[in-house]
Amino acid sequence: MMGDSRRIRVLVQVLCVHLLCGWVLTSELTFELPDNAKQCFYEDIVVGTKCTLEFQVVTGGHYDVDCRLEDPDGTVLYKEMKKQYDSFTFTAAKNGTFKFCFSNEFSTFTHKTVYFDFQVGDDPPLFPNENRVTALTQMESACVSIHEALKSVIDYQTHFRLREAQGRSRAEDLNTRVAFWSIGEAIILLVVSISQVVLLRSFFSDRKTTTTRVGS
């Protein structure tokens, strides 16, 4: 009985420490933005947190989108029109709900797929510092550097994946366009040449009957 309540108290303390540490969030999403649409995302941020917003258009049209980031009072922190990709870092000056929106309102019929990565705060350390009595051992610091290296590998991999998706999307567009226009051109060619012959024949037929009528 005594052991149970003590365990619960420790657990509650641990959970409270979690709550006080400040939540660390990395939100990474790919979503589809239909034409003439605007999609907004909201995040509650504590003052003084360093945040990074990064976005890239993966498929659709000219691969560009409007992006806008506002703080809780409505002040625009970042606003760009028709950007293909960008990265923006800022430190939250106020507490509250920050809002960022992607807009495809300038496009009439192309759907766009947008990827964004919104990071709030720094990543949690691999070895938490709460109960630390000594500095990190050699093994622990090796683990930490491996962790950092792997994080940057994942980051580069994501960028590479997005670029490749974009390139593949353009290649698919090109393929369909080539097929479509070639078939169209072949049909136009046949239709125009056959109608040319028919038209010329019709000119001569009329003149023949006219001359015959005049003669008689």
Binding site: D4, S5, I8, L11, V12, V14, L15, H18, L19, W23, L25, S27, T30, F31, C40, F41, Y42, E43, D44, F118, P124, L126, P128, E130, N131, M139, E140, C143, I146, H147, L150, K151, V153, I154, Q157, F160, R161, E164, A165, G167, R168, A171, E172, L174, N175, V178, A179, S182, I183, E185, A186, L189, L190, S193, I194, V197, L200, R201, F204, K208
Partner: protein
């Protein structure tokens, strides 16, 4: 037993608080929004969501908020179609590698006159199995902490390796498309030149015969 119940309640509350500070987006009633995730094959994906009213000040007097989650695989076949309440967790394993669509639609059971009411969706999608979440477990033993950290690193490396295999597949598809485009351009250019020449000859022949027939030449 009483303590266990308190414990589960506390954990649930913590999760709730976590969701209150997570990223959210707006969803109209009866509207469906989809999120696209590129998932390599044989990956376990877990998603957590929480549905709320847009106005926080509004008293939570609508117990009938619900969400229908539809997950489609790259061939647009349904992998998962389930209805949840306000708060839920969904899990699925991607069998084919490709773009999966996680679609969410709110299904309120009460008939609402204000059909344009907006809802708030908190969403978190995690990929891959996490054997043990290292940040959640505070072990006093340093060897255990090391073990958890190394397990975390191994999970990360597996994820990277799987993503790279998937990347290789996609690059192959890309190369195939480019080669097909190249072949199409060549074939269509040659066939159009052939059509042009044959139609030109046919035109000249027909006109020549016609004009000779009409005694104009």
């Amino acid at each position: 037993m009483f303590e266990m119940r308190i414990l589960t309640l506390i954990l649930f509350e913590v999760c709730f608080v976590a969701w209150a500070s997570a990223m959210y987006f707006d969803l109209g009633e009866q509207e469906e929004k989809c999120i696209i995730e590129e998932i390599p094959e044989d990956t376990l994906v877990t998603g957590y969501f929480l549905l709320e009213h847009w106005d926080e000040k509004k008293p939570d007097n609508t117990p009938h908020l619900g969400m229908t989650v539809t997950i489609r695989d790259p061939d647009h076949e349904i992998l998962l179609l389930k209805r949840y309440g306000k708060y839920g967790k969904f899990t699925f394993t991607a069998h084919a590698s490709g773009q999966h669509y996680l679609c969410m639609q709110s299904n309120s059971t009460r008939f609402s006159v204000f059909a344009g009411e907006r809802l708030r969706v908190h969403l978190d999608v995690q990929m891959g199995e996490h054997a043990v979440d290292p940040s959640a477990v505070k072990a006093k033993d340093t060897v255990k902490t090391m073990e958890y950290s190394i397990q975390h690193l191994i999970d990360q490396m597996n994820y990277i390796a799987r993503q790279q295999d998937y990347q290789r597949e996609r690059e192959e598809t890309f190369r195939e498309i480019s080669e097909q485009t190249n072949w199409s351009v060549l074939w269509w250019a040659m066939s159009q030149t052939a059509i042009l020449l044959s139609v030109g000859f046919w035109q000249m022949k027909r006109l020549k015969d016609f004009l000779i027939e009409k005694k104009l030449v």
